[in-house]
């Protein structure tokens, strides 16, 4: 089984996000990047499938701060090949990334492509379905379980209310992962360091950047807060007493 996992780094929301002086983009000076959480699940799902049915796992990511670390961590978990897309990746969007990935993947023969169902900073759509269309492959998103048998993937797609739907998908296909079968595993630092020695990151230039398909942003801003909550002050006992009052007012008690 040849599995390809496109991943990317996104702004870490633990830090404060600020708008740059131009007013239409995020300030990247203090921005910390982290592997897109759903892509982390995609990597885990790929490794689980490799452990179950055998095969090769290739992880591909566009160049960004700390991406090497994320790639070596994937290798430490069991990924076989690491590819980094280099070039003008600073302003890459989902459309451009999908095009760049399609160019690289055309020469491979994947059976399955797993990628995170979305990223929080996606403004122009999701890489998974865009990529699927470029490769003329079927796509199902919001997948939280994958089984492979006889060139078919059996996946569970999430719907509201905890409802799931089981779909049969002909391979090769692209799946948008919401959650892996098992939560992403822990990998010891020593193993990541070993991976840094043992694995080489292949580089591929993305060539001409084509970001068409997205909308121009004229302004970015922090959401106006219509009505911020009334903050209750004081020590825990004072706050608790006030809460009891409020609950009585609202007929909860």
């Amino acid at each position: 089984m040849n599995i390809i996992v496109p991943v990317k780094m996104v702004p870490d929301l633990v830090e404060e996000l600020t708008i740059d002086p131009g007013g239409a983009a995020l300030d990247t000076a203090w921005m910390r990047l982290i592997l897109n959480e759903f892509d982390d699940h995609a990597i885990e799902q790929a490794i689980l499938l490799k452990e179950r049915v055998g095969g090769l796992v290739t992880v591909i990511a566009p160049e960004a701060a700390d991406v090497d670390d994320a790639l070596f961590t994937a290798a430490a978990k069991g990924a076989d090949r690491l590819i980094k897309l280099t070039g003008e990746t600073g302003s890459i969007n989902s459309h451009a990334l999908a095009r760049a990935l399609a160019a690289v993947i055309q020469t491979e023969t994947p059976d399955l492509i797993l990628t995170g169902v979305q990223a929080h900073n996606d403004l122009d759509g999701q890489v998974g379905p865009l990529l699927a269309e470029s490769l003329s492959m079927p796509y199902v998103g919001y997948v939280s379980s994958v089984k492979i048998e006889n060139r078919m993937a059996t996946v569970k797609k999430e719907y509201p209310g905890g409802l799931l739907a089981e779909f049969m998908v002909e391979l090769p296909a692209v799946l948008g992962i919401q959650a892996s079968d098992e939560p992403p595993r822990y990998v010891a630092f020593t193993k990541v360091r070993q991976a840094m020695q043992a694995t080489k990151i292949e580089e591929q230039d993305i060539g001409e950047l084509d970001i068409s398909g997205s909308a121009a942003v004229s302004r970015m801003f922090q959401p106006e807060v219509k009505e911020r909550a009334e903050m209750l002050e004081g020590d825990s006992d004072a706050v608790a007493a006030r809460l009891v009052e409020i609950m009585q007012e609202y007929g909860v008690l």
């Binding site: 633990v14 010891a188 630092f189 020593t190």
Partner: protein, 426 residues
């Protein structure tokens, strides 16, 4: 050599055994006489299928796989109780148990709570997953501001290594602010690393992540090198232990003291400043990494005795028999797991001791007996009523405070860091 690389001819037991022999002092483990004292003194021994004695027995019987299959090694809180009492003085805590936890980590057998703490340490330099930029946010509002060495660029006498919990946890921050007051009253010229500081790494090390520990230590070391100071003091014993005993092997060598040692050296100067009376019975809890591991027992006690109104008592487990709060060796992040296994918390055990020691002291003291009569008659008593558990490690305050809330008789026991008590007495 990692035991995960299985040599065809060697069994899992032999591979692990070899890895133990390669550790400094590791050959001593051959001398285990299987007496079981380690299991007996271990606070969680009853629930561990993998106490030191059993691990060594399994290795000798070529049955190490059984040990690896169990996850009860994570009950070990690296408190050094076993290492202290072992008649053969085997390196049990930082040798055997550390190597076992490392092995479990390498095979992915790690409780998810701990996994998150380790991943956060790697990503954010602290196990809580808080923003590194906010590491010195606790100093906001302090006037004059606490010097952050990278900004002030001035040489100081003392570099204060604040630590994760004192930086980010509300109760730890209280202790930190109290220490600022005491240091200032003594005119100490100090500074902190602020956002440049990362976790000392000691607990991560004892949880099996040697690699992560080294990565964190090297980062701290680089910032130490760029700063101009004479010595380091730490808020917590874990950082003290790391910087004193482990960092030198990474070529990071600085004189370091726990803040209680530092203040004790200046007791002549400090004592006259302690003018406010604190009427209380105070029990001091010896933290594992200050007491048992590094032999620092007297300075904290002398500091407490210098506070007017304090009546210092010893609990039944004290000095090197002190009971661990349960926070070491990764235990700080394994409460769920350890509760599931044992349905008990070491911190609660300790709090019960506080309650008992006061009762026992009262009972045997004549004045105590007299006080009982006075209380009955509604007359003022002679002995202080308040009971305080004094701690010297920020891990302990939240752990013990939680315990005081779940034990009925302990509701009036206050848990305070020595720094706070000193600050309150000024």
């Amino acid at each position: 050599m990692l035991a995960t690389e299985l040599d065809e001819r060697l069994s899992t037991s032999q591979v692990f055994w070899n890895s133990l022999m390669e550790m400094p002092g590791g050959e001593k483990i051959r001398q285990c006489i299987q007496c079981g004292t380690c299991t007996g003194v271990c606070p969680f021994g009853r629930w561990m299928q993998t106490t030191p004695r059993k691990i060594i027995a399994a290795l000798r019987m070529n049955e190490f796989e059984d040990i690896l299959a169990s996850d009860t090694a994570w009950m070990c809180v690296s408190c050094y109780a076993c290492a202290k009492v072992c008649p053969q003085q085997l390196p049990l805590t930082d040798g055997l148990m550390f190597r076992l936890k490392e092995e479990l980590l390498l095979t992915g057998n790690v409780p998810t709570e701990l996994q998150l703490a380790l991943e956060n340490s790697r990503r954010y330099g602290n196990p809580m997953g808080e923003s590194p930029k906010k590491r010195s946010a606790w100093t906001e509002g302090l006037d004059p501001p606490v010097p952050v060495l990278r900004e002030t660029r001035k040489p100081v006498d003392v570099l204060w290594f604040v630590g994760d919990f004192a930086s980010y946890h509300p109760q730890g921050q209280q202790a930190a602010r109290a220490l600022v007051k005491v240091l200032r009253a003594l005119g100490v010229n100090f500074g902190i690393l602020g956002p440049d500081e990362v976790s000392d790494g000691d607990s991560q090390r004892m949880a099996g992540e040697r690699g992560l520990f080294e990565w964190l230590a090297i980062r701290n070391g680089a910032h130490f090198m760029r700063s101009n100071f004479n010595q380091i003091i730490t808020t917590d014993p874990h950082a003290y232990n790391a910087i004193k005993n482990e960092y030198p092997s990474l070529e990071i060598n600085y004189p370091v003291q726990h803040y209680t040692e530092f203040l004790y050296e200046r007791l002549d100067q400090l004592k006259p400043l302690l003018t406010k009376k604190i009427s209380a019975t105070v029990a001091y809890h010896d933290p594992c990494y200050l007491g048992r591991v590094n032999g620092v027992y007297d300075p904290p006690r002398e500091l407490l005795k210098a506070i007017p109104g304090v009546r210092l008592v010893e609990m039944s487990h004290h000095h090197d028999s002190s009971l661990c709060c349960g926070g070491g060796g990764g235990g700080m992040w394994l409460d769920g797991f350890q509760w599931d296994q044992s349905k008990s918390r070491l911190s609660e055990w300790r709090i019960r001791e506080v309650v008992i020691s006061k009762t026992v002291e009262d009972f045997i003291s004549v004045i105590g007996a007299e006080d009982k009569n006075r209380r009955k008659a509604g007359q003022p008593t002679l002995l202080p009523e308040e009971t305080i558990l004094a701690v010297a490690c920020p891990y302990e305050k939240p752990r013990f405070t939680d315990a005081t809330k779940t034990i009925e008789e302990a509701k009036t026991v206050r848990v305070m860091d020595i720094a706070e008590l000193l600050a309150n007495a000024m």
